[in-house]
């Protein structure tokens, strides 16, 4: 047994090819980003060592701050909608829906499997006003709400909410399904015992369900966060960052800085900022779990 499982040749064969690909394509570039971030210009073109100057520049860059604000708003509201809404839906399926749960689950999960770009293009047409009304405006104008008809994606005030709504639409099913799964794992006895002790709906949720659901709510938050912190594909497909910079995220700003304007060094600083934000965010969310485990 030991001889078979300790076969060095086999281990090398099993591990090394994947290790090489992974190191060159995933690990090395991340390290490399740090190196790039200390240069200005792009490799081969005005490539100059500037030390940490790029990092200082970051917070004086109005475009960066704007993108950061947009990105944070997007993360906050989308997470709230996906996890909060998903939780409400999961509770509804568990306690109120009697028949056809599987069918409902299948339907609700469905938008999750759709390609992001396709959804973005589809919603672009739903919100459309020119050359003809899209689904939403056409509906509004025909039920007598003509005054609500507006260029949803063409004005800064509505573009981001429209984007957030779209991503809640795609993501909420996923979160409701995993939370529903966690709800099913809570034994009926516990819920019944709570009821007998006189817990109303809210108390039942607060004192019994929420603590038991906590780990799943946290991983749901982590998933939602790591999906929204990247904010790229859906925004690109729906609004392309516009109007103006109203929906331009950090990733999109990084992309245009480094690929359109060819400032690879400065782009790398933004890339590293996204990386750190990702780690810090998951760290903060996971902190909620640690505290609870003392009880």
């Amino acid at each position: 047994m030991k001889k078979v499982l300790g076969n060095k040749k086999a281990i090398a064969l099993f591990v090394i090819p994947a290790l090489i690909i992974y190191t060159i394509i995933v690990a090395l570039p991340v390290v490399w980003s740090f190196y790039y971030s200390m240069y200005s210009g792009s490799p081969g073109l005005k490539w100059k060592f500037v030390g940490l100057a790029n990092y200082g520049k970051l917070f004086r860059d109005k475009n960066f701050i704007d993108a950061l604000v947009v990105n944070l708003k997007y993360i906050g509201f989308t997470m709230l909608g996906q996890v909060g809404g998903g939780l409400l839906m999961a509770l509804m399926f568990r306690f109120w829906v009697k028949g056809g749960r599987n069918a409902v689950r299948t339907i609700v999960f469905f938008p999750t499997v759709l390609p992001t770009v396709a959804v973005g293009q589809l919603f672009q047409k739903i919100y459309e006003i020119q050359p003809n009304y899209g689904l939403l405006n056409s509906f509004l104008s025909n039920v007598g709400l003509q005054k609500w008809v507006q260029p949803w994606l063409g004005q800064a005030s509505t573009a981001l909410p429209c984007l957030i709504l779209m991503d809640i639409w795609t993501g909420i099913g996923f979160h409701s399904v995993i939370l529903y799964g966690a709800l099913l794992d809570i034994p009926e006895d516990i819920i019944e015992a709570g009821r007998i002790d006189g817990c109303g709906g809210w108390q039942l949720f607060k004192n019994i369900l929420a603590p038991l659901l906590r780990p799943m709510i946290i991983s749901s938050c982590v998933f939602s966060f790591s999906g929204t912190v990247k904010m790229f594909e859906s925004a690109l497909a729906l609004t392309n960052g516009g109007p103006g910079n109203a929906t331009r995220s950090l990733s999109m700003y990084m992309y245009s800085v480094s690929f359109t304007y060819n400032k690879v060094g400065y782009g790398s600083v933004i890339a590293i900022f996204i990386f750190l934000m990702c780690i810090a965010g998951s760290f903060v969310i996971n902190r909620f779990d640690v505290k609870e485990s003392y009880y």
Binding site: M1, N7, P115, T116, P131, N132, L135, G181, A271, I274
Partner: protein, 293 residues
Amino acid sequence: MAQAAVAAQGSTRKKNRTGKVVSSVLIKIIVVLICFIDIYPIFWMITASFKQSYEWSAKPAYSLPDGLYFQNYIDAWNRGHMSTFFMNSMTYTLISLVFIVIFSVTVGFAVTKMQWKGRDFINRYFQLGIMVPVATALIPLFQIYKGMNIYNTRWALILTYIAFGLSLSIYLVTGYLRSFPDEIMEAAVIDGCDIYKLMRFIVVPLMKNAIVTVLVLQFFFKWNDLLFSMTFVSDTKLKTIQTGLMYFSDEFGSKNWGAIFASISMSIIPMLILYSVLNKFIIEGMTAGAVKG
């Protein structure tokens, strides 16, 4: 008195019952509404893909098409290069899936069941990749591919897809393998299996669930990729379906909604078919990362 009390009790019971009926109807309405909101946009898109252009200006957007105008699909498929994009996406996705499955099973097995120094380190090293946002690797990777002369080739995408699929897949596979019984392997070894036979005849067949999960999850990620494909290839002949869709509007202008809807529908149809047949697997596969974690 007693009679009055009984009567009062009866009436509150009745009230409760009507209350229950009202709320159960309300719940049904809410549930139906949720399902409607989830399904209707897709239904609308597919029906709209059969509309001729005059129908858009003549009638409200939500109306059904007059007939089945297949020309939209033909336009999208030929003039919009959807045939090329579709084939490219399929090729890249399938090739990378094969490698992701092979690598994740072999590495996963090596780091959980085989005995060697440093296996925990390697395992953790692979797991770090789950945290890496794609955007962070993008710029150096672009330079690396340029340096290796594989920028704007199929290999740039396939290699990237494989590499970025490894971390999560290995993580899922190791999760399954932890509960994999050692006794079965021991029996096989006593019967004379070497490591390769053990993998082929014992481990892989028993890992079917894990492999299906990895396949489902990674198919979804690779088929949906936009960022890599818009960065690493620029040639129209090499573009994937998602990049194709993005530039499709330019090709057709914003007027030809029918063809745009046809092209979006085409990108969704593989998912639609897969999902209607395998929805249970897909839901399980896609939520596995969250549930197992």
